[in-house]
Symmetry: C2
Subunit: 177 residues, 2 copies
Amino acid sequence: MKQFSSFMDLVETRRSIRSYKSKEVEEEKLNYVLQAFRKAPSAKNLQPWKLIVVRDKKKIRDLSIACNNQTFLAEAPMLIVACAREDDAYGVMGGYMNSYPIDLGIALEHLMLAAAEKGLGTCWIGAFREKLVKDLLDVPESVRVVALTPLGYPAMEGRNRERKPLSEIICYDKYIE
Amino acid sequence: MKQFSSFMDLVETRRSIRSYKSKEVEEEKLNYVLQAFRKAPSAKNLQPWKLIVVRDKKKIRDLSIACNNQTFLAEAPMLIVACAREDDAYGVMGGYMNSYPIDLGIALEHLMLAAAEKGLGTCWIGAFREKLVKDLLDVPESVRVVALTPLGYPAMEGRNRERKPLSEIICYDKYIE
């Protein structure tokens, strides 16, 4: 396995992978990425999450359709569906919002960085119809589906996406447009 | 600097730090953690974010009060305030939600992991009154404050928090309570 010289090196290695080999993911590697998710911080350490690991081929195909027909998802040997138990999360982040999307964002990114470290591909999937995903996986009404990702060996390299320069996104001591 | 044997090692090193030395953070290290934020993925790569780096001592004190009187925040040489430009984010994640809390969760966790790599401390702060923070930093009405963190050298070790076992948070092929 490739060794990473720094966290930045790992961050730059993680890419959105939209083509997968059929090769199975070893249980040891799956366990590693799940552990990286499990160890994530969450508001008040409430850990308001549940991951569904989907390996059933028919369900994977049906989920790819529920994800606005992103058919490449059906190439992967598994999909991971990140769910949030909204009622278990911190309800007043900033005094105004439920923490669950932040909690799940952190934890699923942990999983994806751990996957990149192990040579596995992932892809943040936000374009999906929650109702369809919930019906396919028996997700209770009170539980939200936040995002999905395929998990498997990349069949191609991800592309490097441009980012805004620091000067556009950082300001000092007060907000400046 | 400590070398990390794996991403998991880094994940386990990041702790919530609630006591800081007054020692300044070197510009090179600040730049590194900001770059780790900048390089984060976001829905449709929209990067709907702005960070305010606060080093003004009076503003830091006032912010610590706006964060429900978490006075330890005023020990740190700087606070970082993570803001979201809601209108610039992906509006229909899962068909139902704005992506900004997920985007900011990912990116701010990048910053915190990069900080841990450099021996710096951070702490997810979700207990704050958004209106007060916005007033202190001239944040426009249309911009949300998602979270804050102090950034500085730890004056004590963070404690290891328990996490739920994998068996409680993972299920296969369908949702199981």
